[in-house]
Amino acid sequence: MGELAQYLVTGVGIGCAYALTGSGLVVIYRVTRVVNFAQGSFSVFAALTVTTLLAAGLPHGFAETLAVLLAGVIGLIVGLVATGKPGTTAQSALIVTLGLGVFAYAVEILLWGDQPRSFDGIPGSVGGIQKHYLLIIGVTAVVLGATALLFARTDLGRALTATAADPYAARIVGIDVTRMGLLAFALGGALGGLAGVLITPVQQVSFDSDVALVVSGFSAAILGNLTRPGLTLAGGLLLGVVQTLVGGYLSTSYQSEVALIFMLAVLVARAGRRDVLEAA
């Protein structure tokens, strides 16, 4: 396979992690109106957990699944802390998530130290492409597809959408709005955890890896006004591909700038029309 094709597949693989991170942000924002700045911590926590579980002798697959579930539980806890008190505004909850993200650094350094870690993914390659990238793409497609079905085809998904659309009306029909918000946080946590678990074998992870993930995931999500899953996926993949091309043909040191420029461009373009966070 040609060099360009390799970059494209690699870029889509990396972009999947951004799309998962962005989707976690979108699920949480849609239901609770909270921008969850602790989103990257779910990924880091899950990835570091996998290193421990594998070291303890758990088999691949099982270790990763357990870590993703744990990230879901952590998402639930973040949701409880940030929004559990009745009457909390979305703005103050946002500040709380920021604080929790910083707190996560302390916990992670305490548990795993400050050096980068990694673990093996799927070994081998086909046509010059590491098979692990194909795994990332396949798992992401299945999980985001299942998430879309949950929202579009189940009453639970409809109730989540209803909560986002009109919390007052949701309460009238008996939907527990607080519980829906916590469920969204748990789902967001699991999506974030999955991003971290999938990407680590090709990228390494350390306590501060959340920044790069959140900047890219947020850029992808903001493309869809933090509410549109399809645009978030497209944004994530595009960003992954552009970053990989820039890294391949120019210099890897520009990769994080690409995400920042992308985010700024989207924000400026949107701000020209209307306030991003109010519009949704």
């Binding site: 009453d155 409809r158 109730a159 959408t161 009109d166 007052y168 309460r171 009238i172 029909v173 008996g174």
Partner: protein, 217 residues
């Protein structure tokens, strides 16, 4: 069905309801009229359990469903999904019986609720409330902003549901409509019940006629 006794509800320091008592018996059609800001919607939200009373008692026997002021549909969801969520607390969320009661909703079932006209939306709000298979229905400002023909249609529908045994508390600024439709009525002003009685008596009272029916006292 509904028994409210000496209900007091406050927003911070402001008292919105100040010792309100009211009853709706099983199968009864009762109107609550009063000017803007009287506290009618506050009473509705307290009945639905969305506001905590500062004092007094609320008792509801059986299932209560609410058609809120402003309809409050889930605008991105389809009509059918809106109906389904009306039965969120119930396990049976089949919408078939609603399309029998409100046949005009059937052709709209796959449309996003936000795309409908005001009258159609009010119909969906009614259908969504009926999905809960309620014993008593509370409707806040049923006619607000709707064309007379649409209001007539809604009123006919309400009469039919009443004939099926449903109790209704109808909140209206259109007092003429409310008094015509209901058998008993309360008048709420500034958080207090200032008059109550049979709809016919109230319609005949000079004060009510002057204030709410636009007739000379």
């Amino acid at each position: 069905m509904i028994r409210v006794e000496d209900l007091v509800v406050r927003y911070g320091a402001a008292t919105a309801l100040d010792g309100v008592s009211l009853t709706v018996a099983a199968g009864e059609l009762v109107a609550l009229i009063g000017p803007n800001g009287a506290g009618k919607s506050t009473l509705v939200n307290a009945l639905a359990g969305l506001l905590r009373p500062a004092a007094g008692k609320i008792r509801v026997d059986g299932r209560l469903a609410l058609v809120p002021e402003g309809r409050h549909l889930f605008t991105p969801l389809t009509v059918d999904d809106n109906l389904r969520l009306g039965a969120w607390r119930a396990k049976n969320r089949d919408t078939g019986h609603i399309y029998e009661l409100l046949p005009e909703l059937e052709p709209l079932s796959r449309r996003p609720a936000g795309r409908l006209s005001g009258g159609q939306q009010q119909m969906v709000a009614l259908g969504r409330a009926l999905m809960a298979r309620p014993d008593v229905l509370v409707i806040d400002e049923m006619s607000l902003g709707l064309a007379p023909l649409v209001v007539r249609h809604l009123a006919d529908n309400l009469r039919e549901r009443h004939r099926d045994g449903l109790a209704v508390l109808l909140i209206e600024q259109n007092a003429r409509l409310a008094l015509e439709l209901c058998t008993r009525a309360y008048v709420l002003e500034a958080g207090r019940i200032v008059a109550e009685g049979s709809a016919a008596d109230l319609a005949g009272s000079p004060q009510v006629a002057a204030a709410y029916l636009g007739l000379e006292a």
